[in-house]
Structures are given as C-alpha cells and as structure tokens.
Amino acid sequence: MEKITNHPFFVEALNVQLGFQPRTPLSDKPISFQLKRGLITGLIGPNGAGKSTLINALVTGQSIIRGKLLCYGIEKNRVSKKDSSNLISILPQEPTFPRELRVKHFLELAFLPSTGLLKPLPSVESEQFELELNTLSLKPLLNKYLKQLSSGERQRVFLARALLQKPRGLLLDEPTNHLDPKATSDFWQIIQICKNQFAIDILVSSHDISLLKKECDWILAIKNGALFFDGTTDDFFRSDITEKLYA
C-alpha cells in the first residue's frame, strides 16, 4: 500500500487496446495516457466509443487485449484481495440494489471487503460512518427502504457506499443520467466537497458537455476506441474539438 500512496498517477494506460473479443480490438491505435492525482477527469466520447469498456476494464481487469492499464501503478490482476477495495470504487451506471433493504444496512455493506467473512459488519452508528454521513447529510434517510428514496437521494446513498469503501480513486459512470437539474447540481456540489474532504481522485464519464466544462479539471476524450484528446478542460473548450469529436 505504501507504493500506492506515493504513486503520482491515478490511472495510466500504456499502449492499451481494449475489446471484448481477443482478436478484434475497438481500435488499431493503442491508447496511452496518464491521469494526475487530485483532479476530476471527465471521460467523454460518442456512444459506443469505448467509455464504458474503459471503466469496466479498470474495475475488472478484463477486456484488455494488449498493453497495460494501471491504477496507482498496479494492474488490476495483481492487486491483492485485501487492497482491492481501498484502491478504487465505482458508482455504476445502472446500479443494482436490493429494494427491500434499509439505507443503513445498505451502507454497512461498504465494509464487506474489510471485515472478513465471519465478523459482524460495523454498525452505522459507529464513528467510521460519521464523516460520510454528515458530508452527504444522510442521517435522516438511514431507516428508510431503498425503494422509498427519490432518484437524487438514492444516488447520494450510492455515492456514500462508494466513499465508505475508503478508496483512493472513484469512478462515476454517467452519474447524473436520471437526475433533474436541481439534483444534478446538488450531486456535483457534493462531489466537489468530497474531492477535497477525502482527497480522492475522480474519473467521471458523461454526455453533459456543459457540466464537464464547469466541474472537471481535465478531459479525456475517446472516439472509435482511440484516444482523441487528453488535456486540460480549458484547452479542450478553447478549440473546436467538441464538434469534431461528435462529427
């Protein structure tokens, strides 16, 4: 874990080719990039460009045909079971969840990997939960069932679950897809607070260009499985590259 803590990059791709079948990569051009720590990086590109494949590859270590995809300098397949949950956590695009579960029990599941199979999970009352619950103002929701929450509240609960896993990096896969404008801006306000409070590196995929312009420090654009742009948000929006990306 020592090496991870000091590693200068969140995600690195070294000549990576992604694809679902070993012989047919999404693109012939391999992808290479390095994401610095302490930033919010926006991942954009047209539908089918490979955004979800990239995020999936980061999480599972699968679909990597060639090259190396590293998280804090380690390949997913080499991460020990113990360290895995503290490396990255994810807020999936269509999160599955047990509808009949109470919020507090759902949040306690974040401690599954660190607790071991036979010990009881820490209670939501314990101090390990204090900071996240207060930051995301979840205390009033703890006794509700997941099915009773609004989309915005539910997304906040899912975010809290991901943060309670105590990761260094966070992957958000189109997190505000189902949210109304108010809930979307609330969600991003929380993300910005979390980034500072928990010193967390964030990679977020989205189609909402204006939102990325406002919230992200860095932009990673991919098109047809190849790298299209890798640079600061200001540079990205200074050029006419957005039009080319979706052309």
Partner: protein, 324 residues
C-alpha cells in the same frame, strides 16, 4: 445469408413442409388422393379429407396462436421467460375441464365443457384486472409472480381431482411429482440432518459474498470478489444439496418460492445471512405443519405433501402479493 435470402428460404421451406404434412402419418398417402376419390384411392381420399386435413388445420392454428400469444406476453411483461401459460389462465381452464369431466360427466370438446373451462379462466382474468398492480401498471414482476402462484395452486387442485378420480393419492411413481415423506429411522434421519446442516453452513458462510453480489458485478469486482466464481460455487453447492433432498422426498413445490418471499415482505432482513436464518425457521415450520396436515386430513390416507404446501402457502402468498 442476407436478410432477404433468409425470408425466401424460410417461406419456401415452410410451403414445402406444409404441403407434405397431410400425407405423413401411420398410413403414408399418395398425392393423387387429393382429387381422386374412386377405386384404389377411395380410402386414402377419405383419410385425407375427413381426418388429416381437419386435424392439420387445428394443429397449425394452435401452434401459430400459442407462438403469437407467447410473443405478446414477452413484450408486454418485458420478460423473455414469459409464455402463454404464465398467468395461470390455462391451468384454470384445465382445472375447470377436469372438474367438468369428473363431477358433471361432460365429454371433452363439448360446448358445456368449454363453458366450464371459460368460467374458471374468467375467474383468473377477473382476479388480475381487479388487482392494484394491474390497474396502476406497476410491478410487472409481481403480476408474473402472482400468475406463478395461481399456476401452483391450480395444478395441486388438479392433482387432487385426478387422485379422487383414480381413487389413490400420489401412489407409484407419481409421488415424486408432488413430493412425499418417507419413514426413515433415527440414525438415517440424523445422518440426513448432518449432511444438510453441512451444506447449509456452507451457504451461510457464503452469505457475505452473496451480499456483495447484490450491489452489482462491477462493485463486487472492486471488493476483490469474483462474481463468476461466487455464482459457480453457489450453483455447485445448491445442486448437490438439492440432488440429495430430491432423491429422498421428490420435488416439494412452493416452499422455495413462498417462504423467502414472505420473509422479505414481512421482515425486510438486512443481510443475506439473516434472510437465510429466518427462511430456514419459516420453511421448517411450514413443512412440519404441512406434513401433520397431510397425515391427519383423511387417515389412513396420506396426501402428497407438495399438494398441502401449495394449498396452504398459495393463498397466503397471493394475499401478501395482493396487499402490497
């Protein structure tokens, strides 16, 4: 093969097969029998026009209709597993028909018989149209669950009527169908208990991993879990235990569906392990009661236990689904 070619091949081969069908059977008929009705073709001509053709019309109509009904159910319920029998309408009809044949001596295919069948089908349709889920258009999976429940209840009632007709309850190989409890001696039953407890503790130990899976595969991966391995292990364990149980008691329906659902609806357990524990208690209690009932309802006859579990649990399950 291009799209267009596929259609051409499909239509031509369908036409050829349909053309050949009436001539195939226990008697292979000659093609001339279609229009020649005298001499050596007389018999063939009659078989073809008064037996084969009407039957073929019936068969083709039913086949086409069931396929379309299934397709419409799959679309409407947004479920690839949906099929025409899923809502229990046809098992209601079957029950009605068997009741008509058994108690009213109506022959199959008569208008009266169909009327009785319609009565039962109508009841099922009414139940659905009255339910909250149907009117609000919400909870499609609950409608399908409700249909499964009805199916179970109707098929046990059907079994009861059939055993009334043949004057025996689940004798012979039929007993495997609805389950039966054999008389074991003490050491046999203790061994059975021990083996099953071992399996159950394995499942209990896996409870945490299963909890991880409920968050979705990608989250499970970040936990360092391997979803494929967990599912594989679970499948292996449960299959082994199920083989052991089924080879002793046959298939006892409804417990596996009803008990966990009722536990979820009533207790909202916070973890898979708690779900397992309450379900284990509930299932044991439920089957214990069912077994006592099956032996005391009509002594010395012993009702097949699966029929009792369904008739006890079915209405309870339907009521719970109805209420929520």
């Amino acid at each position: 093969m291009t799209f267009k070619k596929k259609y051409v091949v499909f239509i031509i081969s369908a036409a050829l097969i349909l053309w050949a069908l009436p001539f195939i059977g226990s008697e292979n008929l000659s093609f001339q029998a279609i229009w020649k009705s005298s001499g050596q073709y007389a018999l063939d001509h009659r078989i073809l026009w008064s037996l084969r053709i009407p039957r073929l019309i019936l068969v083709l109509t039913v086949g086409a209709s069931l396929a379309v009904l299934g397709a419409s159910y799959q679309v409407v319920f947004n479920n690839v597993l949906a099929e025409p029998y899923i809502l229990g309408v046809s098992s209601g009809v079957t029950l009605g028909l068997v009741v008509a044949e058994t108690f009213f001596d109506l022959r199959s295919g008569t208008p009266q018989n169909i009327a009785v069948g319609l009565l039962f089908a109508g009841l099922v349709v009414m139940l659905f149209l009255l339910s909250y889920q149907w009117r609000s258009g919400r909870g499609l999976e609950k409608i399908v669950l409700f249909g499964m429940g009805l199916n179970f209840v109707f098929s046990s009632l059907l079994f009861l009527v059939l055993s009334y007709r043949s004057q025996s309850l689940g004798a012979g190989s039929i007993r495997w169908l609805f389950g039966h409890i054999p008389w074991l001696n003490t050491s046999q039953s203790l061994i059975f208990l021990l083996i099953n407890l071992t399996f159950l503790s394995g499942l209990w130990a896996m409870g945490r991993l299963i909890d991880g899976l409920t968050l979705g595969d990608s989250v499970a991966y970040t936990f360092g879990f391997s979803p494929a391995k967990i599912r594989g292990l679970l499948f292996l364990l449960t299959s082994l235990q199920l083989t052991l149980i089924t080879s002793i008691t046959g298939a006892i329906g409804f417990i596996g569906l009803v008990v966990p659902h009722c536990v979820r609806l009533l207790f909202h357990p916070g973890s898979t392990r708690l779900l397992f524990i309450i379900s284990a208690l509930g299932g044991a209690l439920f089957l214990g009661l069912s077994d006592s009932l099956s032996r005391t309802l009509l002594p010395p006859l012993e009702f097949p236990i699966g029929v009792i579990t369904t008739l006890l649990g079915g209405p309870l399950f339907l009521a719970l689904l109805w209420k929520k």
